[in-house]
Amino acid sequence: MNVVRHLPSGAPSCHRMAVAVVVCVSLLLGLPARADDAACTPAQSESVGGIMDVAELIAYIDLQLGASWEKAQHQPAPLADDAEYLRRAHLDLIGKIPSVSELQAFLQDARPDKRARLIDELLNRGAHAQHFANTWRNSMLAGTPENVASEQLLRQFHTWLRLRFTVNMPYDRLVGELLTAPLDEGAMQVNRMAAQRFVPTPAAFFQANELKREQIAASTSRFFLGVQVQCAQCHDHPFSHWKQSEFWSLAAFFDTTAPGVAEAQEASTGSANAIRIPDSDVTVEPTYLDGTRPDWDSGASKRELLAGWMTRTDNPYFAKAGVNRLWDHFLGRGFVHPVDDLDPANPPSHPELLNEMARQFSLHRFDLNYLVRAIMQSRAYQLTSRSSGSTDDERPHFARMPVRRMTADQLFNSIVQATGFREPRRIARPGAPVPEMATAADAFRNRFADSAVPLTEAETSILQALTLMNGKLTSDATDLESSETLVAVTEAPFLDTPQRVEMLFMATLSRSPTAEELEELVAYVVAAEPDGAAKTALADVFWALLNSAEFALNH
């Protein structure tokens, strides 16, 4: 097995520049600069508590999954080659396909630890924080009652998350800060003065939940704990042990507020914070999901108390929900599926593995990048997505990489990467008509709006296909005069026809064509030569590549 991985974990991330960025952003956020960050120092392999470093966790994951494949008597798929791995790693970590030069450099790199180096390099790019902010924002807000008034808040939420992913903020702290975010007038942008100051804030999470305690509580427990108590809002939960009173006891940690009206900061006592279950005579006090009650003497606010309980290392749900979500992000499916339903009635596919990864996550101070490094170097992540035949359907999970849809952002950014598209600058001149407000990116996102449908399910619409085939973005990208990539490929004097076709493949599919493909397409271009239409034929090839399933999907 030539899986490449045994690099002292994390070492390359201690590049001087990366540290500088971390320090800068740390100052911005008022965080202590973490020179001793777990991301930069390999975790100590002390036997105490069995803390595992990245390499040990990788070995553990491989061992567990290997055993499950063996038990199911199935061979896992073969390993992905470098090109397949590179494309997948780029899409999953920075949200776009690699450029041709990145692809060539990676293929030529002979170092045995190049996949580990790649992960570290990508984790340190600004595009990584950008992509994770997109991904997490979208999944945190998925299914919430959307509100058009929150456009500005969405951007602020995105920036808030991006700053935190930039410094690899420990996950417990990120969630704690989110749950205790101020919801005052400034944060909620309720007046014009406030709207002019761009303050990063996660307030959109609360606003998307309509600032109602029951909605916020439901989203909070679902997203961060994988506990679906919301059905118990109206009646006792039919599928699990959650009771209506437990739901409202959790909801009691939040206040239903009007936008911009600050809630009471100091929690007094349990009974003073009791709320009545709507349409009933029952009152409940704020109570954690495990039935324990807060220590009101601490002087902390209700939300601080809840955040403290949720992110405790011995919380049975928090670390597992985080690990499951990250595993789902990289492997297309969580150990628990659906990803945010950790109900005992919905057991994980690999309980022991999930438990151990969760334990290591909390032992590593909820270091997200520690998990990312281990997952991306695991054998499961490095398997090909190519199916070997009909027996695949009976394969246990994670024995082959599933094909996933791209998010709207991934697809747009990949088209930009492949075509060299640049958003034209929009300049408003006095007296002139207001320039078209929607950017190409906005229009594209609008049509490819992300849904709650898992990325491993089918969800391409007719309109999306029409846009990709005939829309302006593709038309410009395949226009012989305006397309950067096409001009470069068709005009370069040192390329022959097979090389031009190969360049187009690398720009779009991040691989070279197979012999069969090359033969077919070169023949197509050559046939057009007598008419002087070879360039047009190359444009046709580029068009087909940009419209192909292989281009538009993550595999």
Partner: protein, 452 residues
Amino acid sequence: MKPFICRSRCDQLTRRDMLRLSCAGLVGGATFPWLQAMADQASQPAARRACILLWMNGGPSQMDTFDLKPGHKNGGEFKEIATTVPGIRISEHLPKIAGMAEDLAILRSMSTKEGDHSRAAYLLRNGYLPQPPVSYPTLGALVSKELGNPAAALPNFVSIAPYRNLNPAAYAPGFLGSQYAPLIVGEARPGGGSDQDDRNGDYGLTVDDLSAPSGVSREAVTARLGILNSLNDRFVGSHPDAPALGYRSAYAQAVRLMRSDAAKAFDLDEEEDRVRDSYGRNRFGQGCLLARRLVERGVPFVEVTHGGDGGIGWDTHTNNFDGVKQLSETLDAGWATLMSELKARGLLASTVVVWMGEFGRTPQINTNAGRDHFPNAWSTVLAGGGMRTGQVIGRTSDDGMKVEDRPISVPDLLATVFSALGVDPMKQNISNVGRPIRLVDPAAAPIEELVG
């Protein structure tokens, strides 16, 4: 409880398998002859039922359309007129509709609880209150899944002139997935200008990106698609996962639409000027004409949004009477012409027409001569579909403040629509959270006076 959960998760697998089969079937019917047979059967015009939803964005005033209160101070300035059904009286600004009251069932006792645009639109259009993380599908997606022909050249769900900003999820296929997403034409956006504005031709009711860019010849399109198909067949062959199959099937449908004559349905210039005039030269009127053309061609669900200028015109917090009068005139021409044309073609009996918004408006008139949101007691109208029309269901009090007889819930209303379409409202789909969800809330009862 446990066996139940097990069953639902098994069902989910079945659904995924089904999806694969149907995707594969779309591309090559020969692989699954029985699927092709099913598709052929579904396209038999005789069996074909359809639904047209006329969506009144913003919440139409029942007090000034279908449940007037003449003589009461809440009544306002509009007069009632008689209709072709003795005893049924409606607004003076809907004279053409009044002329076909025998084909209408006026439901005057809608009783809901949601007075927020976004949530109420979701409730009326998706049938459930938003309950994250479940993504309930919008009505059109549910109906098109039940009645649509997956092999048809035209999409099975077309949404005309929607204004989705209040709640995009109320127009989305939710957990059914994007193969049930609407084809949207003439989308209205905030600040989108006047309803009568036709600078771009056909009021924007055309399909975007339906043809290749001008510089690309027909032969080039064919050549490109040839290369694409060969690339896709290779990739899907070695990656037979749902997203790849779905991607290829969406392309197959899009290409079918590009190439077939079916897309001519969107060419309103094929109609005589006289016909186009009678629908009204505005986005809603022409949208009704387009709806007729689509239903004629077998599309099972078409919705036409009427939001007036700005998209949310029925939200008449100020100057209610000017606004409703203008909206009613547009509504009257478009709706009545649609109904009479459907009837003349023998399609009204198989087509359920639904007139509704997200809620009604307050009986009391506010200080700005407006009416505010009012979900307690309001009206919707059903027509066609072989229902026992020509009657009023339910009654509100003299001041319009409350329902006095036969309250109707949203699930009741939607269950009636499904029943009239020949679909069991208690049928289940598997949701995105892996649990079975009925088309309509199980508490629903179809209105038996209409469909019993």
